[in-house]
Every structure is written in structure tokens, then in C-alpha cells.
């Protein structure tokens, strides 16, 4: 996690994010760090702030390298999560991660086919806020659908696992609001 964001930097960061995520605003989003390239949203949701997790070659991906949404689901199942469908409600006994996807066309054997690809993951902080890392930008806490956009699509699946002392996560349970 980057260093805490300064107020004026946070304003700039929000403006930059709003260019891509028009639903974001000061009422549903809080900038919580400085920008960083060290990790991405999947790494953040998995609790690893040391590397980028993505399916492309040369990046870290502890599973079958594929852009398809099922590949991302497999990563989190491998981390001990189970699917809870579209139940994004807050349960203090569980860590929950929202997995985002969008439908896109890809070239396969010369033909364009539509597939569901993963785009993003957000980690549940409390009943209202989820924590995200948007590309190279800052960490943010946001409401679940504030990032819905052509870039990220929308939350497709929620996964959860019980909170246990041996599954420590570098993020606090909640943020001051």
C-alpha cells in the first residue's frame, strides 16, 4: 500500500479517476493512498502488495493464464474462497471479494468471438465500502457499483472465505468514515 494521500493529491486523483469512472464522486469514493505500479487490484484483493497479478506472461498468476473470467475465479478459489453468488452484503465473519468482468470480442483463429473477461477485483471493507486499486492510480474505498463502467464492466461474482487469524490481510477491517 502506498503512503497516505495528501488532500490536494487526493482531489487530483479523484478527478483523474472520474475521467474513466463517471459514477465516482466525493460522496462515494475516498482516496486512501498515493499512486503505485507495484501491485494491482487482483494483488490487493489477494493481500499481496509486492507484485502485480495478471494473466499475461511475465506477470504473477498462480493459475491457468487466461483473460477469461473463469481464470480469475479459479485464482480466488485456490486462495480458499468459495462463491457466494451475488450476495455482496457485509458479514463480519467473512472476507469478501467482488470479481468484475465485462464481455468483449477477441480474435480466435481469425474469428471474432465474444467472451467474458476479468477486469477487476475489490475487497470488502465494511457494509458500505470496498477497497480497490485502479490500474496505476491510487487505492480507493468506494461503493460497490461506483466503478461500473465500460472499462471494468460490473461485479459479476462475489467470493468469500472465513476470517481467521492465520489469514491476515494487510488491510484493516474498516476505515474511519
Amino acid at each position: 500500500m502506498g503512503t497516505p494521500a495528501q488532500p490536494h493529491i487526493a482531489e487530483v486523483g479523484l478527478l483523474r479517476l472520474q475521467r474513466s469512472f463517471p459514477n465516482l464522486n466525493a460522496g462515494n469514493c475516498i482516496i486512501t493512498s498515493s499512486p503505485s505500479r507495484r501491485y494491482n487490484c487482483i494483488a490487493l484483493a489477494a493481500g499481496d502488495l509486492t507484485k502485480r497479478w495478471e494473466h499475461n506472461p511475465t506477470w504473477y498468476w498462480p493459475g491457468a493464464r487466461s483473460p477469461e473470467f473463469s481464470s480469475l475465479v479459479g485464482i480466488f478459489l485456490g486462495l480458499g474462497y468459495v462463491s457466494c453468488g451475488d450476495d455482496y452484503s457485509y458479514d463480519p465473519a467473512y472476507q469478501k471479494v467482488a470479481l468484475y468482468s465485462k464481455s468483449t470480442d477477441v480474435l480466435a483463429a481469425g474469428l471474432r468471438v465474444s467472451v467474458e473477461v476479468w477486469t477487476h477485483a475489490a475487497f470488502q471493507m465494511c457494509s458500505r465500502y470496498w477497497k480497490s486499486k485502479c490500474g496505476d492510480c491510487e487505492d480507493i474505498c468506494h461503493e460497490l457499483h461506483a466503478l461500473d463502467s465500460p472499462i471494468y464492466g460490473a461485479p459479476n461474482l462475489c467470493v468469500k472465505r472465513p476470517k481467521t487469524p492465520d489469514r491476515s490481510h494487510p488491510l484493516p477491517d474498516c476505515i474511519p468514515i
Binding site: 483473460p67 468483449t104 480474435l107
Partner: protein, 156 residues
């Protein structure tokens, strides 16, 4: 470890119109890749003539200034995608790759100052991947591996 260029960017990114010509170019590179008998010990650019054609419109501008211009434009992108291949699929990044072998030392020098997602371009230009597998995902370690390779080949 050789990269496999064709496997890298099949998705339509925000600059999707650049993907198809790039894939066609990679088809040609794949043929070359399959016909290779061994990995060269020194850095070569097997598509130098093709790149010269691509760059015919930019002959009047030096490679260094072209690199600076396109790199600055690329870094100015709003990088909100979680997937680096979408960040590296824009016209400015492609233009840097089209500069050919001459861009490699410029990229490496840029990486000395600021680690960034230059790995795709370097692999496309050099056909090698000097990053240790255990460093995959760690942008600083990956950068260090590439800088070490550059020094070994007297590119920086």
C-alpha cells in the same frame, strides 16, 4: 526464456484498431520464430527492414526525439486498467516498438530512471526474456533483470 509474442495481446484494448495489424505482424514473426535454430547470443533485430518501412514518415526526426515524444504521450495515458497489455496497446507504445532496435537502449535508460511497463516492448524488440521466473510480477526486480541484461550486452 523466449517470449511468445502471439499469446500476449489478443484482447481489444482501448485502442483496438491497433491490435489486428499487430497480430498480422506477429504472424510473420511467429514464422521466423519457428524457423529459428537457436537463440542468438547477441541482440539482433530480425525485422529491421520492416521497421524502416514503418518509420519512413518519420525519417526527419531522430530516434531519440521520437522516443521521447511517444514515451511522454504514453506515460500521460490515464492508466486505470488492471491489465498491462491494455496499457501497452496504444499507438504511442506501438510507435516506440516500430522504432526497432534503436529504441532498446533508450527504453533501458528510461527504466534506469523510472520502472515502467516496458517489458512487452523489450521482448518484442529483442525476443528474449531475461526476467527470472521468480521475479515475475515484481516490477522493480523485473526492471533490474532487464537492466542487467542491457549492461551485459553493452546497451547501457
Amino acid at each position: 526464456v523466449l517470449c511468445h509474442p502471439k499469446a500476449r495481446k489478443s484482447l481489444d484494448g482501448p485502442q483496438g484498431q491497433w491490435i489486428l495489424p499487430r497480430l498480422l505482424f506477429r504472424e510473420t514473426k511467429d514464422i521466423h520464430y519457428r524457423n529459428r535454430k537457436e537463440i542468438p547470443g547477441s541482440f539482433v533485430d530480425p525485422f529491421a527492414s520492416h521497421r524502416r518501412t514503418v518509420n519512413s514518415a518519420a525519417k526527419s526526426e531522430s530516434v531519440a526525439s521520437l522516443f521521447e515524444r511517444h514515451a511522454a504521450a504514453w506515460k500521460n495515458w490515464n492508466r486505470v486498467s488492471s491489465i498491462t497489455s491494455e496499457i501497452t496497446s496504444g499507438p504511442d507504445y506501438e510507435s516506440i516498438i516500430a522504432l526497432g532496435a534503436a529504441a532498446v537502449p533508450l527504453i533501458l535508460r528510461s527504466m534506469e530512471h523510472e520502472p515502467d511497463y516496458w517489458f512487452d516492448a523489450l521482448m518484442e524488440l529483442t525476443w528474449v526474456d531475461p526476467v527470472e521466473p521468480e521475479h515475475y510480477g515484481d516490477i522493480e526486480q523485473m526492471t533490474n533483470d532487464w537492466l542487467r541484461w542491457g549492461r551485459q550486452h553493452n546497451l547501457i
